[in-house]
C-alpha cells in the first residue's frame, strides 16, 4: 500500500478551481520533489493534505496509509504522521519554543494513546536533536519563532520534524530566504531524517535545493496539475529549459 495516494484531486478556493485533477503516489522511504512556477498550486496541495481550512475539495481523494485523509481533522492527521514544514513559519509571542514543542508532542502522543514524555526524557531528546541542528538552547526559551532569523525559523521546523517523527514530511519552499550556509544546515537536518519508513515531499521553485536534498522522483506542476514526472535528472533538465515549455500544457 502506498503511504500517500492523491487521486484526481480537484480543489477550489473562493469559488475558483486551483487544482484541476492532481494525482500523486508516494511510497514509504521515497523522496519526491514537486517543482513548478509560482502560482501553479504547490502550496495549495500541501495545505489540502495538511487540512488547512478554506479549501473546498470538489472531487478526488487523498489516502494516507489507506485511510481517507480528508475525513480527518488536521490535528488528527498530525498525530497520524503528517507533517508540514511551512514556507513562512508563524510567530507565537509569549509561548516559549520549549513549551510549544512539549505541548505539541504530548498532544500527538495522547491522540495516539501513547504515554506523555517525562520531563527528563523530553529534555534529553530535545537537546540531542537541537544540538545536531546547531540550535542553541537559549533559542528554545524564546517565543516560538519570535525574532528568529530566516535560517533559525527553518531549523526550528526541522527540529519539530525530528521530534515528532512523522511518516510523511512535506517541505514547502524550504530554501526560500536562506543563504547557502543556512540552507546546508537545514538540508543536512532533513537528510538525517531520511529513513525507509518515512517519505518526503519537497516542494520548491528552484533546482538549487535539490542539490542538497536529492530526490528519488521529480514532478513538475503547472496550473494545478502534475504535467510531468521523472527521476532526479528531470530537475536538471528544468533548470536548463525553464518552466515555459509546460505553460500551455
Amino acid at each position: 500500500m502506498a503511504l500517500l495516494e492523491v487521486k484526481d484531486l480537484k480543489v477550489r478556493v473562493e469559488e475558483r478551481e486551483i487544482l484541476h485533477g492532481l494525482t500523486l503516489t508516494v511510497n514509504e522511504g521515497e523522496v519526491h520533489a514537486i517543482m513548478g512556477p509560482n502560482g501553479s498550486g504547490k502550496s495549495t496541495l500541501s495545505h489540502v493534505i495538511a487540512g488547512k481550512p478554506g479549501y473546498e475539495v470538489t472531487d478526488g481523494q487523498i489516502l494516507f496509509k489507506g485511510e481517507d485523509l480528508l475525513e480527518m481533522d488536521p490535528d488528527e492527521r498530525a498525530a497520524k504522521g503528517v507533517f508540514l514544514a511551512f514556507q513562512y513559519p508563524v510567530e507565537i509571542p509569549g509561548v516559549a519554543t520549549m513549551t510549544f514543542l512539549r505541548t505539541a508532542l504530548n498532544a500527538q502522543r495522547k491522540a495516539r494513546g501513547e504515554s506523555e514524555y517525562s520531563t527528563p526524557d523530553f529534555l534529553k531528546k530535545v537537546r540531542e536533536v537541537s544540538k545536531s541542528l546547531n540550535i542553541p538552547q537559549d533559542m528554545l526559551k524564546r517565543g516560538v519563532n519570535v525574532g528568529f532569523s530566516g535560517g533559525e525559523k527553518k531549523r526550528n521546523e526541522v527540529l519539530q520534524m525530528a521530534l515528532f517523527e512523522p511518516s510523511l514530511c512535506i517541505l514547502d519552499e524550504m530554501d526560500s530566504g536562506l543563504d547557502i550556509d543556512a540552507l546546508r544546515i537545514a538540508a543536512d537536518g532533513v537528510n538525517a531524517l531520511r529513513s525507509p519508513g518515512r517519505a518526503m515531499v519537497v516542494i520548491t521553485h528552484y533546482q538549487r535545493l535539490l542539490n542538497y536534498i536529492v530526490p528519488d522522483f521529480v514532478h513538475v506542476m503547472s496550473r494545478g496539475r502534475v504535467v510531468k514526472s521523472g527521476a532526479k535528472d528531470l530537475a536538471l533538465e528544468l533548470e536548463a529549459s525553464g518552466y515555459t515549455q509546460f505553460e500551455d500544457a
Binding site: K52, V90, I92, A107
Partner: protein, 498 residues
C-alpha cells in the same frame, strides 16, 4: 472615644433596640425580606452584633445612597435593577454536606480536573465530610484526609500569623475586636459617598477580610490558601480592608479559579488598601463568577470598587487581576499615589466569551512627587462579548516627575465580539511623562493552523496562543496560582472558535 460621642452612641443604641423590637420575628430568620430600608440596615448590623458606630456609619451611607443614581457611563447594557426586589441579608449557608466526592456533580468535578486542582482541595472547596464507620475506598480516603487537613492547616496558619503580629480575620470580627483600627481606616480610601455601588456596599456589606500588618513586618505567607479554603462565604456585598503599616509587606490573593455560582445576581464589593511609608501591598484576584448561560441568561453582575492608597512615601501597591467570569464586570482597581516616590501597578487579564460584558481598567492618581505607575492590560474578547478597557491617569500640579507607562492590548477571537480602549490622560504639570501604547488584533488563523498542524486541537491552540498573549500579566501572579489561572484561561475560551 470622647465622652460626648459615647453618650451619643448610647442613645443611638437605645434607638436600635426599639427597632429591634419590631423585628422580633425577623431576627430569628435566616433571611431579611426583600428590599432595602433603614430597618434592613439595622437588621444587618444587629445580626452581626455590631457596635453603634458601625450601624451609624452604615445608616449614613444608606441615606447617602438614597440620593444617588446608578452610573451609566460604562459600556455595559443590562436591564434596570430593581433594588427593592433584592435580598440584602442572608445568613451564610453551610454547604450541603456531602460525604464523598462521588456525590458531587460530575460536571463540576470535570472542571476541577481541567483546572488541575488537587482532589483533596476539591473536597475542601466542595465541603466533603467524612462518614463515620464507612469502608474506605481510596477516593473517600482522600476526602477524609483533606477535611482533617483543612482544620490543621488553618490552625497552623493562624499561629504563624499571630507570631508575626499580623491580624487577619473576617472584617465582622475585626469590627468587634479591633474597632480602633477599623474606625481609623474604613472608608478612608473609598469614602461612603464614593459611588452608587460603593455607597450601597457601605450600607449593607456582608463580610470580607481584614488585614493589618504591623510596622516592619513581612507577612510570612501569601494570604491565599487559608482564604481559599475557609473564607468563601463572604456574601454578595464583600468588604475588605488591608493596612500595611510602615515598612511592611503583604501579598493577598482573592478569589478562586474554581467556578462559582451564587443565587444573588448583584455583587458589589469594596476593597480598600492602605500602604504607609515604605510598605508594599500586592493584591491578586482571580474572578470566575457564573457568566450566564449560552443565551446570555443569568450570570452575576459584578460592580466592584477597589482602591489602594499609597499614603506613605516610597510605598507601593500592585493590583493583578484575572477576570474570566460574571455576566457584567464593572471594575477599576485604582491607586492614589499620595506619598512621594510611591508606585502603583495594575496588571490585568480580562476575558469575555458568550454574552459577557466587561468594562474594566484602572485609575492612577499621581499626587506626590516622583510617583510612578505602570498599567499592563490584556483584554480578550470571544463569542458575542464586549470587552472595554477604561483607564485614567492623572498628575496633580504638585506631582512633579510623575511617570506612567500604559500598554493595552486586545485580542479578538471571532468576529461577533468587540474590544474597546478608553484611556483618559490628564497631566496638570509639565514634568509628567505619560506613555501609552495600545494594540488590537484578531487571533490569527495562520497561527492557529500552525499549532493544529503540530497536533494541538483547535481549543488547545486557542488556549496556547491566548496564554502567550497574557504571559506578562500571568507572571505577576503567585506561582501556584499562575498555573491554575493559565488553565482557567483556556477553559474560559472553550467553544469560542469554530
Amino acid at each position: 472615644m470622647p465622652a460626648v460621642q459615647e453618650t451619643v452612641d448610647r442613645v443611638k443604641r437605645i434607638d436600635v433596640d426599639q427597632y429591634r423590637y419590631g423585628f422580633e420575628t425577623l431576627i430569628d430568620s435566616e433571611k431579611a425580606p426583600k428590599g432595602l430600608s433603614e430597618e434592613i440596615v439595622k437588621f444587618i448590623s444587629q445580626k452581626k452584633n455590631e457596635p453603634a458606630w458601625m450601624l451609624q456609619w452604615r445608616l449614613e451611607a444608606y441615606r447617602r445612597w438614597l440620593t444617588m443614581t446608578e452610573p451609566t457611563w460604562a459600556r455595559v447594557d443590562y436591564p434596570k435593577i430593581d433594588f427593592q426586589d433584592l435580598y440584602y441579608y442572608a445568613a451564610p449557608k453551610p454547604k450541603k454536606a456531602v460525604s464523598s466526592l462521588d456525590e458531587i456533580d460530575p460536571e463540576i468535578l470535570k472542571t476541577y480536573e481541567k483546572l488541575g486542582i488537587p482532589l483533596r482541595e476539591v473536597a475542601m472547596l466542595e465541603g466533603v465530610e467524612p462518614k463515620v464507620g464507612e469502608e474506605d475506598p481510596a477516593r473517600r480516603k482522600i476526602a477524609v484526609d483533606a477535611v482533617f487537613d483543612s482544620v490543621s492547616v488553618a490552625t497552623t496558619f493562624k499561629a504563624e500569623l499571630k507570631k508575626a503580629g499580623v491580624i487577619f480575620m473576617p472584617i465582622s470580627e475585626a469590627i468587634r475586636e479591633h474597632p480602633e483600627l477599623v474606625q481609623k481606616y474604613l472608608g478612608s480610601v473609598v469614602p461612603t459617598s464614593d459611588n452608587f455601588y460603593a455607597t450601597l456596599n457601605s450600607a449593607v456589606f456582608s463580610d470580607g477580610s481584614f488585614v493589618y500588618v504591623p510596622p516592619g513586618v513581612r507577612c510570612p505567607m501569601e494570604l491565599s490558601t487559608y482564604f481559599r479554603i475557609n473564607e468563601r462565604n463572604t456574601g454578595q456585598f464583600e468588604r475588605t480592608l488591608i493596612i500595611a503599616d510602615k515598612g511592611s509587606y503583604v501579598s493577598y490573593l482573592e478569589g478562586c479559579t474554581a467556578p462559582q455560582r451564587d443565587e444573588n445576581q448583584l455583587h458589589a464589593a469594596v476593597v480598600e488598601l492602605v500602604a504607609h511609608d515604605d510598605a508594599e501591598i500586592k493584591y491578586s484576584t482571580v474572578q470566575n463568577w457564573y457568566p450566564g448561560n449560552s443565551e446570555g441568561k443569568g450570570g452575576i453582575y459584578n460592580f466592584v470598587t477597589k482602591r489602594g492608597d499609597c499614603r506613605g512615601a516610597n510605598s507601593k501597591i500592585s493590583w493583578t487581576q484575572v477576570e474570566t467570569g460574571s455576566a457584567i464586570t464593572w471594575k477599576y482597581p485604582s491607586c492614589i499615589l499620595r506619598g512621594d516616590n510611591s508606585r502603583g501597578e495594575f496588571y490585568s487579564i480580562a476575558i469575555s466569551n458568550g454574552f459577557q460584558q466587561v468594562d474594566s481598567g484602572t485609575k492612577m492618581i499621581h499626587l506626590g512627587k516622583n510617583t510612578s505607575s505602570r498599567i499592563i492590560s490584556k483584554g480578550i474578547a470571544a463569542g458575542k462579548s464586549q470587552n472595554t478597557y477604561r483607564g485614567l491617569v492623572t498628575a496633580h500640579r504638585k506631582a512633579t516627575g510623575a511617570r506612567n507607562f500604559t500598554a493595552c492590548d486586545s485580542l479578538l477571537i471571532g468576529d461577533k465580539c468587540g474590544a474597546h480602549t478608553v484611556p483618559y490622560i490628564e497631566a496638570k504639570n509639565s514634568s509628567a511623562t505619560f506613555e501609552h501604547e495600545a494594540t488590537t488584533s484578531k487571533i490569527s488563523e495562520d497561527v492557529l493552523f500552525y499549532c493544529i498542524q503540530r497536533g494541538l486541537s483547535q481549543e488547545e491552540a486557542v488556549g496556547l496562543v491566548v496564554n502567550g498573549f497574557v504571559k506578562d500579566v500571568l507572571q505577576q501572579l503567585p506561582m501556584e496560582f499562575a498555573v491554575e489561572a493559565q488553565k482557567l484561561i483556556s477553559i474560559s475560551l472553550e467553544g469560542s472558535v469554530g
